[in-house]
Subunit: 650 residues, 3 copies
């Protein structure tokens, strides 16, 4: 199903009815509204104006549309900030208060902000919780966008001290856990604890990890409280949230999604490619400029689905040029439809476009919509028409469990930021590389959190699991399938110390090695590893390991073990180039009996139930790896450029 | 005529007379003084010491020199700052107060500063307004140098609120004009308005444009008040100001110059080239290292002349290495003379060198003068001698109107900074590219402000006119000549919104197209346009246009219109490489009957009255494009390296 | 002799005895302790806990080890900061207070900090001054690490005003000396003086130089007071300090070392190479990645020795990968031994490894030790065993005076930062280049301070001596040997003004030239000089000189003099490429009768008494330049890769 994001408050009321009519005629089902409308809902402190919003909802609903209602907490109005300036967050890098004038000018640690956010959420939920046209709810909007998970405000300082007390109980335990004796950093009471910001040189990794966990917990608590309010007033309605790319929240995303019915994602392929590939060469970038990278959508679709394990939404889908990347090209013809189809292939229930009509004013006036500001059709319009027609003709089966699980671990990411050790170490790049390998091999993937049940997966990939919990280690040990564990896994205890007996610490039962030393090399000065007759670059992270009783599968240039195996578990002691990962994972798949479909270039495949989707990001036709006799529901065996084919196996 | 900048307060009084004698002997006419002398004029609050300055002026005057007197407001003394610390400006990027210790430590928004600046200006004007040796006045010094047009002080905040009230009358009008509903940014009163600094993410373009206009207005008001004071006390004397490069003021330069008799410019070709071409390759830069870029002087000479439409001064001319660029080479032999001659070619009345004698102390001790600190001749001395001799032999005619007008628009520049949309979008680079085309075609140019009378110009070039006023649009429509309008023109209303009916909004009467979409590409991943059989790169800004009834002259790689024509008006919907501009403008000139003189390499020509100047920036001789029978007043048909020829057509 | 850094407070007391036993068994003599132990020595204000430290010292001492005791002032505990927040330093770039949470969170200008630092130093010195196991003392730890020499605190502001009063006596003298008239920067009293931070644009060079001197003086005073306390309580014990690389202290290192018995250096070749060569290409860097640059250790060993003129210590020697560079490789096998031997070759008395056992927690848990956290041998262990065996077999003679002196001048370094004039000007790079020339020529070098007695040196090299004192000029004139003076020498007076009669000012008696002009070029756009038939690049600094009666040895591309000679003194008027320096210095050595030993590639030699050490940093064997009949004490005539040979001339 399809939807759209709409801002009745931006347009003359006289336009609403015609807008609703056109939405319905286009085949849209859902309309998300009101996430930035606080200043219109409560124009003065305590004075609410509901009438306009009542009418807007009714107009949409009467046209047959289902409303997705939002809490407007992403943009508190000026009067609230003037009443309670302590709501504003503080930039930890500079110590400067981050002011009013855009959005997300709030501090999750602020008790006043928490109270006010819940107050307005309650008001909206009370008003519309049982409105017949409101099908479900979106909390807030893009939580933690613009680096807002972390604030260094006085409220955050106080909250952190309280949190530390709750976590550690007495200060001696905290000092011991963090190793505060190291530089006479010992505290005598929780009231002496500083935030790990603005120190002369780097603060302790344990201190910074605690700060990250605290900051994440504040967002999770905020979100859980808001969801509870909605649920209390909106019986039978679902609740979701539109995530920014998960790596950018700075939060434990699984915890953040825990109380949701399903997760949603805001998908901007071109802006994302422009920023993520800013250092790529023109030869590398030009083919992706108008399509995005073929893996960058899937990796986030799969992660979004993994947050709840249920079909996800794309709450905002880019319909044309955006305004916020370094460069903002037009999508290649067909890409708006193709990105949408890829979302459905990866298990989407709904794709909703951002936004109905391009705003002629304010920050996003250069951001395309389905309509131009003058109400004429923008470029994506006919693609949405086509998409609706195609969707109407195909019955999408429920998404099924993938053969491969990838464990995604936010704490490994944070560790890589806190204790980088080599400038080339980047957890998100590692995760992306491992995902890329599965995509090139045509393997479907489920992303799961550490500690998730791994039963039924033929293969489990662990790019890094640096601080494994007891539960996460146990789940890995209980996995049914072959397991590939990447470097730095088990490197630390919960409090970011080296485990007794050295790494991999809690993972040693799976992998009886000892990590004796780690080195990191310049990206342009790598060493190598040999696996069989093949040699691959290795440099950004290299562990010297004592292999114990493991079988050695690959060796460094000096003959030391670099890839080892113990039963069903493989351990890769170094970061390697993609080709090495491809070879290792392909061999494991063969052993695991999982069929691979090696893909070249810009074609990717994804299965949903008994359907297979082949998505061609390239400018040339590509051959679909469909079995003989496959029944094509869309497209043909030759997948046209920027097009897809869907088939059911014969 | 020639002049020099002199600081009697820097030298023993015993030296003054000999200095004056040598100045006169060198052929200098004007001596500028006292712009940094506040601490000597008023060493304690309210206690003035005039005697030394009286004597200095008399000494210079008696030697036959004419004094250019200054207001010393660029450097208020420490005691004033200690009395009134609120004078100090605040850095909008960091929120940090910018302190005492160099210069321009003042805030144009500060009422206290305004009062004190006018007080000292009045005192100086009263003292010297009718001094017979004082020929004219310079206001302040290099207004807005060091990014001082904008301050985020409390005074600026208060001033901005008042200014908004004056501009918009009631707060609902402002909210509507700025589109503040967008992210609940609505204000309930003018007292709620923030400065657009320090917000969590980007603030509204309308908000930022208003802030730029406000900041500019404060500088203009400051300047106008100062000029009025001088005029009240200095009957019959002219008033000027020495501008830094106009793009760097952050101010509406035409408004800033409105009350002046003429404008002056401080010309530092090598420092400017070093900074502006910092990213150029060695092959590109080495030929320009000791000469500057052949267009960078002319573009500012022409803009300076355009500020008042009257002959301009070079108030400060680089005489040797400076101290402030990243690298500071010596000029190639002959360049000090050549730069000066180029100024005269472009309509200068006076060229004045900075400075008489190199200071042995403080911030600029590595900056060359005409004399070394030990009073010996520095390198430029003989070039000034030669220049004086040459000037004495040639009667320079009055500058005449050029055949080509280029509209220079500071608001387009600001828009490009506020809403860049693509990192490659840079109004000043666009303006420079368009000017470069005219120079390579040997076309003389007048720079005019939007809204200027365009009668009599055979061609009008509009690199960008993004927010045209009613008047500016009307003047363009009334133009006599062929008009070339660049992309983004008419893109916005006064309050930085998309015009009703889409761009080009107010320019649609001239050019009946609709701009449907805009994309921006990475500089290294351009698309192309075809004009006739030629193909050119296009990427930094690309508009999708509906051509209406226009003739299509050029098309994008996908066949969509990119260059169109409607009557005498051409519209270029994209930023293109120089060769495309050269071809388009050359074709227009042919049609307009304006003779072009295609020039290669480092030679440039400029006409002044009935004289033509050929300036050779290159290291090789160049052929002057002089007609047969031309009478050479200086040089010959072969223009020597770093030399010039001047001829009168036969 | 060998030593190690040990932190008994980091480990269970039960481990101490076995640790001590293993240290002794490894052949270690010295153990440095307690430099970060303040929070354990004084856990609450005024409450001291000595017992644990008494026992630790006794345990070490009874095992036959000699203790190096430290004052713990690098890491004051949290309670001290909470009691006296004014101790915290203020970042001059941002104005932000630098907080608690790491180390060196103290302000040398703070009277409270000074009092507290001396209080704890006194307490420790009283307790252990006469302890029989304490052989000597280290003051503090790595003074000024993390850019802590300079603080912009209120205390620093007050201290700077007092210091200025002491230096200049009356404010008119200061105004005159600094040239404050220049931009009306004149002060009316010392109480008006600002710190040169946060101004609108650059402050006066004299102002900044005074600020640097003041900041340095504060550190020197702090250090001198601490040394005096130790000496008062520790009769017969030596006192040293472990310097960071001297260029990074921001202090007059000779003054800082003045009261020490000898100086020590903390040697981290790989971290240093990674940072210093970050812009090198992969081809340049890869051969050095695991060895460090062959000159970067020697230049600091020689400077450390030069601080007191007595054998130095390496107090901390890298034993494996570190944690703080951008990339942290493992040393090539043998390098830990080789770096240690190189220290002994350059005159070390002791090499002490950092640290005994890798910490499993806090900031440096990724920093290798001699033992891993689990007490097993880390990689360097067998190299230390080998080193101890080799040292036991060789009787190292006392270091002897070198034939060549290089003057190292911190004020030239500061001037280059304060008034860079060209981005390529970098005193430390110049010093490194000159040192590199001597190393490639096989010349031993002593680094001396300006003003040192130069008697007995066959050659004196002066890379830059920009602000020579009367004494330094006199010493140079009195030098016995040939002198080579580099550009910018004599460029300024004490107060950073151009000398009367122009540069080289006070050096004119040695070198009767006048520096007429200076230019600086982009590194990629150099000019050249010719010496004889050879041509060399010259660009980063180029002086136009009037050669007077000097002999011209080299000329710029335009024929102007660039290298001149006057008697025994040579003057190089420009920065040149290495090959030019090599040729000039080689010719001087020939004339001076100093034998050179031209070396290629990665081999370096150093003499100590009658022994010659050949150190091979390369991956290939190299031929030792040993005379026939040389007696090899270690190694052979073919020096193995990453190995050394030592011989005694026959
Ligand atoms: Zn309720
Ligand atoms: Zn008056
Ligand atoms: Zn005592």
């Amino acid at each position: 199903m399809l939807g759209v994001c709409y801002y009745p408050e931006h347009w003359p009321e006289a336009w609403w009815e015609e807008d609703a009519r056109r939405m319905a005629a286009l085949g849209l089902t859902y309309v998300r509204i009101a996430e930035f409308a606080w200043s219109r809902i409560e124009p003065d402190p305590g004075r609410f104006e509901w009438d306009w919003l009542d009418r807007a909802i009714e107009t949409l609903g009467k046209a047959g549309l289902k409303v997705v209602m939002c809490t407007p907490t992403a943009t508190p109005p000026k009067w609230l900030i003037d009443l309670y300036p302590e709501i504003l967050p503080v930039d930890p890098e500079t110590g400067r208060t981050r002011g009013f004038g855009s959005r997300r000018h709030t501090d999750f640690s602020s008790p006043v902000w928490h109270r006010e956010a819940m107050r307005i959420s309650t008001a909206v939920a009370e008003r519309y919780g049982e409105n017949p046209y409101v099908a479900g709810w979106q909390t807030d909007n893009e939580l933690c966008c613009h680096d807002t998970a972390i604030s260094a405000s006085p409220a955050a300082h106080a909250g952190f001290r309280t949190w530390c007390r709750e976590q550690y109980g007495d200060i001696a335990a905290l000092n011991a856990a963090w190793g505060n004796v190291f530089w006479s950093m010992e505290y005598r009471s929780f009231d002496e604890i500083e935030m790990p910001v603005g120190a002369v040189t780097e603060t302790s990794p344990a201190h910074r990890m605690a700060w990250r966990r605290y900051s994440s917990d504040m967002v999770v608590r905020f979100h859980a409280d808001m969801i509870a309010i909605i649920r209390a007033h909106a019986p039978g309605r679902w609740v979701t949230h539109n995530f920014i790319p998960m790596p950018e929240t700075g939060v434990d995303n699984h915890a953040l999604a825990a109380d949701l019915d399903f997760a949603a994602y805001d998908n901007y392929p071109l802006g994302r490619a422009d920023l993520a590939l800013a250092k790529s060469t023109a030869d590398e970038f030009a083919p992706l400029m108008r399509t995005g990278h073929p893996d960058f959508q899937g990796i986030l679709f799969d992660q979004t689905r993994g947050l709840t394990g249920r079909p996800f939404w794309v709450m905002e889908q880019q319909p044309g040029p955006v305004n916020w990347a370094n460069h903002n090209p037009r999508p290649a013809p067909g890409m708006v439809r193709l990105w949408s189809w890829e979302a459905f292939a990866h298990g989407a229930a709904v794709v909703s476009f951002f936004r109905w009509r391009q705003a002629p004013y304010a920050q996003e006036q250069m951001h395309a919509g389905l309509l131009r500001p003058d109400c004429t059709h923008a470029e994506a319009w006919p693609e949405v028409e086509q998409l609706h027609a195609e969707l109407s003709a195909i019955d999408l089966p429920a998404p099924t469990k993938a053969p491969v699980a990838i464990i995604v671990d936010h704490e490994s990411d944070w560790l890589g930021q806190i204790e980088q050790q080599g400038r080339g170490y980047n957890y998100q790049k590692i995760l992306t590389a491992w995902y890329g390998t599965t995509r090139r091999l045509g393997l479907d993937v489920d992303f799961v959190a550490p500690g998730a049940d791994l039963a039924g997966y033929a293969m489990v990939l662990v790019p890094a699991l640096a601080l494994p919990t007891v539960e996460a280690a146990a789940r890995l040990q209980a996995a049914d399938g072959l397991v590939l564990i990447g470097p730095r896994s088990g490197a630390k205890t919960h409090d970011v110390t080296i485990p007794e007996g050295l790494a991999p610490g809690r993972l040693r039962p799976l992998m009886p090695i000892r990590v004796l030393a780690v080195e990191t090399l310049r990206p342009d000065c790598p060493g190598s590893i040999a696996i069989g007759n093949a040699s691959y670059a290795s440099g950004l992270w290299r562990e010297t390991i004592e292999p114990g009783e493991c079988t050695v599968l690959g060796r460094y240039e000096d003959g030391a073990p670099a890839v080892v195996r113990h039963g069903k578990v493989h351990y890769l002691a170094t970061l390697v180039e993609d080709a090495a990962l491809d070879a290792i994972v392909a061999a494991m798949a063969t052993e695991a009996g999982v069929e691979t479909t090696p893909l070249n270039g810009m074609l990717r495949i994804r299965r949903r139930g008994n359907l297979t989707f082949a998505i061609n990001y390239g400018a040339e036709p590509a051959e679909a790896p469909a079995p003989e006799g496959a029944e094509f529901l869309l497209g043909t065996r030759t997948v046209a450029p920027r097009d897809l084919s869907i088939w059911r196996a014969a």
